[in-house]
Amino acid sequence: MTALPDIHPPKARPRRRRSSLTPWLFLAPGLLMFAVYVLIPIFQSVWVSFHDWDGLGPMKWIGLANYSELWWDDAFYTSLKNNVLWLALYLLAVPLGLLIAVFLNQTVKGIRIYKSLFFFPFVISQVVVGLIFSWFYAPGFGLFYVLIEWLSGTGVAILADERYVTYGIIAAGLWPQIAYCMILYLTGLNAVAPDQIEAARLDGAKGWRMLWHVVLPQLRPATFIAVVVTVIGALRSFDLVSIMTSGGPFGSSRVLSYYMYEQALSEYGYRMGYGAAIAVVLFAIMMIFITGFIWKMWRDERGL
């Protein structure tokens, strides 16, 4: 385009006006969608959270009563505690993904097959992952149950025991998430400059020191994306909880997103206001992380 001669050079002022309008025009469809499906619902949720509403009849303003009820609700604290557990343990996917990526980043015959096998759990649906792990843990015939029974004499039904159930679900969640982090790091490793590796090797760097001081700094973009994706994945963990336990036994594996769904939308959920209040709390927690991420990206863009 630039090679074509400009026949009608426009005057400076209209062009500036047009150039300031054009980006907005192009953004408009996206902004509209974002407003309709993200921004406005956020405010609606906050609005609903101040009401008592069964989703059918009229809404009744009750002020902060939903929030004060949350404050005294044991189930809310169970969900919150599980969310923190999810967040902490789910982040293990990042170092484990790196480990596998470094391990697979070699040129052996058939390495592509191994890579795709390791990537496989991310390709299959979360629902299938949940089902596989439910059978894995199932009392009586589950592989894991039988293994524990063989080792210790008594089997443990992971998904029926309030002490282990959340860990059991997180383990199922880690399986695909590790694969995802691995693929992020594998692409990152392709971009690691070979001359720097060469130079470090000449200086006698090996093993850990090489990884820590030479390779990892170059993988920073991959690490950033892996952490962001994992944190958000941990906070919105819903499908596995729903498939594997439905929040049970007696609500001990619930997370905030599932509790919200239960209160507002499930079979017995007729409390839109209370569900919205849980959603607002979850949103506030997410905002902490999102703000951090955006702040970091903004700093990087400005080259600070």
């Binding site: 059918l56 009392p139 009586g140 336990t245 439905s246 036994p249 409390r271």
Partner: protein, 410 residues
Amino acid sequence: MVLSNKGLLLAALLATTAPAFAQARELVFNTDASDPAPKAAFEQLIADFEAEYPDITVKVNIFDHEGYKTAIRNFLTADAPDLANWYAGNRMAPFVAANQFMDVSDVWEENGLNDSLHSAASAMTIDGKQWGVPYTYYQWGIYYNKDVYAKVGVEPADNWEDFLANCQKFKDAGIDCVTTGSKALWPIAGIFDYMSLRTNGYDWHMQLTRGEIPWTDDKVKAVFAEWEKLLPYTSPNHAAIDWQDAVSNIVQGKAANYVMGNFAVAPFLDGGMTEENLGFMPFPTINADIPRAEEAPTDTVHIPAGAKNPEDAKLFLAFLARPDVQTKMNQTLGQLPINAESSVGDDPYLQAGFDLLSTADGGIAQFFDRDASPEMAKVGMEGFQEFMVRPERLDGILERLERTRQRAAR
């Protein structure tokens, strides 16, 4: 010539479409009949209805049975059909309170349903009006493996002491006396209901589920004290398995008894049991002074308030209430008709259920999640599950249930 041909064609087209406009009597029926037996029963019902009313066509939307329970709230407000499946008792109360179901007292009045559907009348009545038509129900009770009983050498017991004594013998033989799968919570609500009905009676149980009795009441604790006696004999790990998995415990002889609804007979028989070794008995008596009450959830059809064709929908409800229609339908469903003039199929479990329910002097409860408010049902069933796993936490659980009851009452 060409022109007139076209004219003829147009006339012919008009002739075929015009009657269609004249008889645009369409009923939209949203149903949760996704399982094979209910699906067949409803297809048959609708075919019969259309044969009787040739100018009405029924358009059926089949929903997945579980998904329907949440979908109904959306379609009632957004795009109401003319007919919809639902459940009796308190389970329909939110829709009645929100004016989403139509008052069909006139259908009951005109067709004498107050007599013929008498057994379910109270479960269909809110504020003195009827809000739908019940078409089927089924008994709950104990299904047991006769081979296991014979192996251990005990006889089915009709009272609580003997039943628990049997349980000890099963335990000594390494067999779970009672099995259940509480992953979906509701199966254990059946156990609670029977504990409550047998310990304190029907009227008290209904007061409790209506939220008129505090959960911290001593009589509630008495119910749980009886239940606690059964816990050592109940399958461990029930919280991890679905009700169908517990069926295989009975089929494989790993467990003896299962407190369940009659719909479990099909999976029992599919699993290889026969009428020879699958037994049915009522839940044993705990307090002999209390008239025997039973549990029989009722399924219903309603007209949404937003129905576009309520007149024909009422015709459909009247048709559905007829004794011959209910007889035919329930033979396909393998359940019991509500209409007193209907006849019951010759299936032994249905016959047993019919005898059981027609002699239940105490009363007929719907089921915990239909008698109690939706909010109470969820928290309650979770509490029952926690109690079964951690009976020592009973006091805390009851306090939690009481908080929910007080909030729901506001």
